[in-house]
Symmetry: C2
Subunit: 238 residues, 2 copies
């Protein structure tokens, strides 16, 4: 199996980085092939712009998604985007490793989504959700945060972590067709003892080792909607 880990933390000695390294070691020991995109180490450019395109369908006006399609067809995407796409397309399991910044991914990882998940290549037209171009691949978020578990739960001050992460879990990963596995969250990490961090690291290693037993999250299915993406009456009870 091929595993891609997209990692976004500015401190190489961080606990988040240690989680990433443990996953690399464990998958490698199990005989899998692991590729890491360490976005900070790569000095990854997160800004979607006209510079991403080697050719232009319309040189006067930038419609980013439209130019993604034009450049996917013409094979003229910027080399850094193409390199990440090749890693993604070769992967069976993709793990995104990051600290929670403002209820979401750090900008450097958001820009990986913006630039690498190319319209016309990984989704487009009616190829999204269960019909998305990355169908068959599995994805998982592995994150750390400062809050405690009860603060990021239903009824807690911030609300349920799955709802907080919905734009990434559903709106990004499931949208491209990937099967989304339950997220691993390391809570309260900056404030924990080394021993408590060790326990979290062990839980993470077990979560990852058992990934094939994890129950995928429930996501929208195109069959429940008509051609205009209106919900079919027969699907109302779903």
């Amino acid at each position: 199996m091929n595993v891609l880990i997209v990692h976004a933390h500015p401190e190489a000695q961080s606990f988040t980085s240690a989680m990433k390294s443990a996953a690399v070691a464990d998958f490698t020991a199990a005989g899998h092939t692991v590729v890491v995109s360490d976005l900070y180490a790569m000095n990854w450019n997160p800004v979607a712009s006209a510079a991403d395109f080697g050719s232009r369908g319309n040189a006067e006006y930038l419609n980013y998604a439209l130019e993604q399609r034009t450049n996917a067809d013409a094979q003229t995407l910027a080399p850094d985007i193409e390199a990440e796409l090749k890693k993604l397309e070769a992967a069976d399991l993709v793990i995104f490793s990051f600290p929670l910044y403002w209820f979401s991914v750090p900008a450097i990882l958001k820009g990986w989504f913006d630039r690498v998940l190319v319209s016309g290549r990984v989704y487009g037209g009616r190829r999204f959700y269960d019909q998305g171009g990355l169908k068959g691949k599995h994805a998982m978020l592995a994150l750390t945060c400062g809050g405690r578990d009860y603060m990021l739960a239903e009824g807690g001050i911030h609300g349920d972590i799955d709802k907080i992460l919905m734009p990434v879990l559903q709106g990004t990963l499931a949208y491209t067709g990937m099967t989304v596995l339950p997220t691993f969250v390391g809570y309260h990490v900056p404030y924990l003892s080394q021993e408590a961090r060790g326990d979290i690291l062990q839980s993470f290693r077990e979560h990852v080792a058992n990934w094939q037993q994890l129950k995928p999250m429930s996501m929208p299915v195109l069959a429940a909607f008509d051609r205009e993406m209106k919900r079919l009456p027969s699907a109302l009870e779903f």
Copy 2:
């Protein structure tokens, strides 16, 4: 009144940019002072890193939020961050103008949140939500997207737009203490006629002109939680 518009679109001729320009013109005509941070035009750096800090509490290990506090106290934040903070602190109303990318803001704007909303300066300790450092200011999202309104509604294929935007509305804007006004969404924009776009532009101008009449969104209140941020029994019915 001082208005800050933080704008993030890679195409200066875009409809999103036209919305931004209309808001600038209307606020200016009404006698207000408007400042625009046009992130693409500024070549804004969205990547939170050690380079953001002119001094370090710990030079060996980067804890980003901790160094934000150290550098806020020492007044040694990077000049681009400090410049944005001064604009933010002078503003009474802040409008964020962007196209929806992956159910969220473009990375260049996510990086404005990551770097400018500095711990120790705009929030920190028990200064968050209704006790946040930006209390008294108002914030509004003004965005465009490709989807139709019924696709981004409860029961629609993607779900309710306010839930999609929750990490920004609650987890970012309300978290810093700002009063969050209802979002303006321009739906289906890339596929609309010029006439239909004109109608959306007019609706946006009315939304903005009437901002003081808009009902702020409901957000968490610290008084409902104890010192450990556990919900108080007396607040359960809220």
